[in-house]
């Protein structure tokens, strides 16, 4: 491989992944904690995301307001995000300045202050963030569908959390969460860019190895039982546009069927980041004038999650017709193997998406860390090969296995605006 990856585990259990890329004088550093909405109990939903916000509120060494200025002054970019499975913090900096990012991350792994006043002010910021999302019909519908799809597993709630919990979570809840999950043995540092591995590793050891190993973080083990029978739900709200979201249970990212499903997804809705105007669902629903748009996506998760398809309906067409056309397309894939050319096309699309990603150092550091949350890095490096080995019968088999109407949730947003 062009740029080999060095993987090392520090004595405290922290995993380090380094990839030298000398294309530009930039380094991207990502710290990953394996904690997300998957680890949240009722009453504490949204706590991982809120903790992520609190990590920007300062440590003794890097007080609030100094952190963001210090990074920006160096021309760096930084941010963080929380997913279902992980919380990640990144800084992409001019190469000569990366030490600042590393010092900051090593410090805030254990020394964030969680000042009570800052917690109070951030509570209203996060409530405002949720209110912004609630303005979007698709957020509201997606949340209902998620709740219906997971009765037991904690994937049942949105990452931002339920409003009731955003009002109730305390400073001590947040701090307890932070201390439980922000331990080096639950963290990965992925670094890509313009550095020398040996010198970089030495510096990382100096900064991160003295942090003591913590207790293994608590995990919720609540697998979702198999659903028997379709769930249909409706949600009413403002607007003139009707949406339908259909969710099928999908396996996790390391499941043997994962790659066949990626090909199937590509056939139905295209590859991530590309247009999808000649995919099967677009042709069947949009080209025929039954709907304005149809799109679909799955996620690479630790536990089984969902494949979700969203239809944006036309106000002058019956929504049931679009759903019937969607079912007919899925049935075609179940009844007959897909032509080999269509599968080759899915592989070529993935190859192009990988090439675009390799233009960007931040993206490369992201993928190293991201895959380490649910698999190991070989998952990423062998992705195209595994995709290329998928056969037409594989695709037909997974279409039959996962696209069962009696296991799905169908949610419809019914607009109560003008003209209705």
């Amino acid at each position: 491989m062009k740029n080999p990856v060095t993987q090392v585990q520090l004595k405290n259990g922290m995993k380090i992944m380094l990839k030298e890329i000398h294309a530009a004088p930039i380094i991207s550093s990502w710290v990953w904690y394996k904690v997300g909405s998957r680890d949240e109990t009722t009453g504490k939903t949204g706590i991982s995301h809120w903790t992520e916000h609190m990590m920007f509120k300062g440590t003794k060494k890097f007080p609030h307001g100094m952190l963001d200025k210090a990074i920006s002054r160096e021309g760096g970019r930084w941010n963080a995000s929380t997913s279902r499975d992980s919380t990640r913090y990144y800084e992409t900096m001019p190469a000569a300045r990366i030490d600042l990012a590393l010092r900051l991350e090593s410090d805030r792994m254990t020394k964030s202050i969680f000042d009570a006043k800052e917690v109070a002010s951030e509570r209203t910021v996060i409530i405002s963030e949720r209110e912004g999302s609630e303005n979007e019909p698709m957020f509201l519908l997606g949340e209902e569908v998620l709740h219906a799809a997971f009765r037991v597993h904690p994937y049942q709630h949105e990452i931002i959390g339920d409003m009731a919990d955003l009002y109730a979570i305390t400073r001590d809840d947040l701090y307890k969460h932070y201390r439980a999950y922000y331990v080096p043995n639950n963290a990965v540092l992925s670094l890509a860019g313009d550095f020398e591995t040996k010198a970089m590793l030495k510096r990382i050891r100096e900064l991160f190895e003295p942090i003591p190993m913590g207790n293994p973080p608590p995990r919720l083990v609540r697998p979702e039982p198999e659903r028997k029978g379709e769930v249909r739900l409706t949600l009413e709200g403002p607007g003139e546009t009707m949406f339908t979201q259909i969710a099928y249970p999908f396996p996790n990212a390391t499941h043997p069927d994962y790659f066949a499903l990626q090909v199937l997804e590509s056939l139905l809705n295209g590859a991530s980041g590309l247009s999808y105007k000649t995919c099967r669902l677009y042709r069947a629903l949009v080209d025929t004038g039954l709907a304005v748009d149809v799109s679909g996506w799955s996620e690479s998760t630790i536990d089984p999650f969902l494949y979700r398809i969203t239809i944006v309906h036309r106000s002058d067409r019956k929504p049931e017709k679009a759903l019937t056309a969607l079912d007919a397309e899925i049935k075609k894939l179940q009844d007959k193997p897909a032509p080999a050319g269509e599968i080759r096309r899915a592989v070529k699309q993935a190859r192009a998406v990988f090439a675009y990603g390799s233009e960007n150092i931040t993206h490369q550091a992201f993928w190293m860390g991201h895959t380490s949350m649910f698999a190991d890095y070989s998952w990423y490096t062998t992705y195209l090969k595994k995709l290329a080995s998928v056969t037409a019968p594989d695709v037909q088999r997974v279409a039959q296995k996962y696209f069962q109407p009696n296991r799905r949730v169908v949610g419809t947003y019914i607009p109560k605006g003008k003209g209705r």
Partner: protein
Amino acid sequence: MTQSKTSMFSPEDVHCAVLSNGITVLARSNFNSPSVSLGGYLPAGAIFETDDKLGLADFVSSMLMRGTHSRSFDAIYNELETAGASLGFDSGVHTTNFGGRALAEDLPLVLKLLSESLVSPAFPKDEVERLRAQLLTGLALRAQDTSDMADLWFEKFLYADHPYGKPSDGYPETIQAITRKDLEEFHRLHFGPRGMVIAIVGAIQPKKAVEAVAKVLGDWTVSRQKEAPVLPPLKPLKKGIRHHHPIPGKSQADLVVGVIGPSRKNPDYMAASLGNSALGQFGMMGRIGNVVREKSGLAYYAYSSLHAGVGPGSWEVAAGVNPKNLNKALDLIEKELKRFVKYGVTKEELADSQANYIGRLPLSLESNGGMVSAMLNIHRYDLGMDYYQRYEKIVRGVTRDDVVAVARKYIHVDRLVIATAGP
């Protein structure tokens, strides 16, 4: 750290050629990845529209790939998507813009489709109607979007009857009024090689890129390509305006507060841009972010931005807040604007933003797409291909006095346009 190739480009790195029909081609190689990006524009924008057909330029640009005289909509996208490539068009007041990317091996394909879409779109009747339905749905969604509607009203009041005050996606009634003939005619009168610019960056030798463009677009000639009308003068606002657009049932309200700003070519631009950085960008959204989000906890986003293009730009503050906090947030923003106009920025704030502007260059030029945008901006605003060689000097040349002077010149706190949308 090791020595590595700098991403900063010099005039020697960029190959610039003008084809005999007037098309300018800018090309730069980057063999770090097997991909290429392209982008460009031609002077066929909404400035040619009449008020009863607002959205026409946008409608035309969205139709270009929905069927040409030699290929159907499905055939065009089938070729693109099979290659994992992309190509798209949109339009603004002055130009129709395009952008795309592909594996280097598929660049000829993308250029061929670009050429066909520009030169011989067919505007098939059924595709026109299908797109119309999609555009109308888009407008129904816009009508429900608090941020879009606050923006729309802000621009409407800020620019009054000026072309910049009109939404480039039109209104439902103007989209309904546009006929297939209008689309054809707009294309016939305004699309042509004169004034067209295309930039290509990626795993290709620059000369080869120019040859590839010449092969598919070198023969394009249009004898009656219309000259764009001159932008009318802007009427300055005599007093402040506040307008609320009600959208029932929403949880959050959006606000936009602002004034007219400098154009990109105006000598005030860099001082205004650095001042804006301190006001509402630097770190966690600058001073605005600090008072509205960090100190008061009123909003998830609250920032200022400077939109500077060909004509008079806008300098605005935007935020999304709980409807009951709308006035509180507006008060805080107005106070910050007053302080900014009175005192400008501190020495430290200016130095911070200057360091940020200089330091972030390698990041913004890292990808092929970032490089394409930079090259197009340099060309569009006559910045000179040595712009990034001079950039540090330009940025460091701005003083605190310059910033306070542009703040006072543009931001009149008694004449703000305030647009809000929400329940």
